[in-house]
Symmetry: C2
Subunit: 392 residues, 2 copies
Amino acid sequence: MTATPQRGFPEEEFASRCAAAQAAMARRGVDAMLFASEPEIRYFTGFMTPFWQSPTRPWFLVLPLMGQPIAIIPTIGVPLMSECYVGKVVRWASPAPEDDGISLLAGQIREAIGPSGTLGVMMGRETSLRAPLADVMALRAMLDGISWTDITGDIQSIRMVKSPREIEKIRHVCSLADDAFAAVPDWVQAGLPLDQLFREFKRDALQRGVDDVSYLVGSAGAGGYRDIIAPPNDRPLANGDILMLDTGCVWDGYFCDFDRNFAIGTPNETAKLAHSRLYDATEAALIALRPGITPQDLFVIMDQILRPNSTPGSGGDDVGRYGHGLGIQLTEPPSHTAWDETEVSAGMVLTIEPSVIYDDDRLMVAEENVLVTADGAELLTRRAPRDLPIIS
Amino acid sequence: MTATPQRGFPEEEFASRCAAAQAAMARRGVDAMLFASEPEIRYFTGFMTPFWQSPTRPWFLVLPLMGQPIAIIPTIGVPLMSECYVGKVVRWASPAPEDDGISLLAGQIREAIGPSGTLGVMMGRETSLRAPLADVMALRAMLDGISWTDITGDIQSIRMVKSPREIEKIRHVCSLADDAFAAVPDWVQAGLPLDQLFREFKRDALQRGVDDVSYLVGSAGAGGYRDIIAPPNDRPLANGDILMLDTGCVWDGYFCDFDRNFAIGTPNETAKLAHSRLYDATEAALIALRPGITPQDLFVIMDQILRPNSTPGSGGDDVGRYGHGLGIQLTEPPSHTAWDETEVSAGMVLTIEPSVIYDDDRLMVAEENVLVTADGAELLTRRAPRDLPIIS
């Protein structure tokens, strides 16, 4: 286990994140940025709460070209937001019968931009505005004279490269989940229903110190599994099953995201072969991974091992990609696909997640988490073995 | 503990939900409905997965005027969706470099509606479209000749009234969380840091059978607490603290949402008074609750007890309301506010959640979950006592 890092971030971490966004604004001719989603509001201010699970109230953040961000939020969030990296907290009693914060927000944007100018909004891949569409349209109408421009790429570029403090948190949660995975053969055996297994895995990871087992999926089936996103059923594990557990545990708001495969009793040859092929694909990606490479390169390197007879660049299997970024969210840009040409740089935290289909309709997925360093890559997870682990 | 209900729903449950939406469409002159959010896609098809935590891929559902819903989804979801209540599953390899499912979706909408007609989209209070704004705008442009209309009220009206099977699931998770709350005085004591307390509460609730402790917030402070949405800190509980825990545990996709207050050692008089006043406000609401009443009525009934000197209907305290609906989501419509005139009907599951401010800046919240019956209300939670419970 790694030493437990300090929770939270010092103020300079948020100042530096905002400065990076403001530099992008200056370069792009953007006068202010609007955020209405949990990850970005947290990233720029430190505002962290599970309360986002309630869809009732909208929350907004405006980042002006200079200075600290301005929060326009429901009164219920004021005590917490006041301790965050914000220059001003503008509140309203939400939920409101009409105009649930929208004209208040428009006023703050006007104050930051003036009668005309450009507002940056995330509108692209992997984003969504957490606000009613009618309110978004009302806001656009109120902001007559102000044009909207997409800042998805700017923000994703900034968030993709993790600070040392962010890396420390991800490293810690990876280590805790590694311990939980390592213990699985000690308590899992044939006869255990999958839903009980899930419950026990969550309890064990919590005991080891994760704040939440926010994401746990998995599957078990004779000779292999097919579905990798369904909730568990109550079928007891049986000899000959291949079991997969994939977890996104969270510590201080940062995710790990990796899985482990196990054979219950003697595995079939095809499953063993699939597991070693996934290992080899991961190994090839780990050797190649360094600054300057692209997710596309990683895809091709893995795809040649996983599907040696496929047309190069033809698109991977059902999962759609062989890994992705990781941090505040379970999955973040970039995507290891045939088309993602993002330049990989030091400080990025990525998953390497090859998958293969075998025996016609069985799927196997393996996943590791890695940090890109100045001259290569460093595993944040303890490498799964090449040979499929057996629980006997 | 209640007997564990059966997981999932029979097909007729989804057929009846879709029929209700289709009846609303016929009434309103809507030719098809589009859904792009987890709760609605799950409600109409049964598609349940924690994979929604990955923001990478958009998911869509089109409900035509007749027949089963059509899923337009990334390939990774096809095995699970194929077992759900859908007439057709249209897939694409996502994430895609351009056009991540949008023209495919437009094609399915055209097929359902024809060259011109009306598409129902949820655009109102408590909703958001889980898709990039640029894609939403591209879809609108592709659907030239088709007008969009807001169906928020129609869908919320349907979802607000729970079926017997939904009620059974909520009742079960309430009972499990009740057991977890009842055990708190057995293991919580002064000296225990709040973050360890949270971790242990989650482990205990999991052990009792909940699938997830999706939501847990709380607070502790000398003489009372102020913030009710922050994550826990590592401050040890001290004599004189008032502790509040508020949990949204989940069983088979359905939430409970209630809290409990405790005094560590001898409580201050003002905290004791606040607790009994919250009890009285809840009691008054429970006595009044029956079909035909409105959330506004409930607000006024509670507000008169909580803030006897305030102007009637002046808007409650910082929380913004005194309760809400409950089900697939931690919070659902309606809202017990000064303005919500929804007609309460049998089958609704509501929280009764009064809050008071005392000693200038202390907040206390109490919450129960109730089912509206033909002639009154039935508690789904074991009623908190009037006297603030003491952990000594």
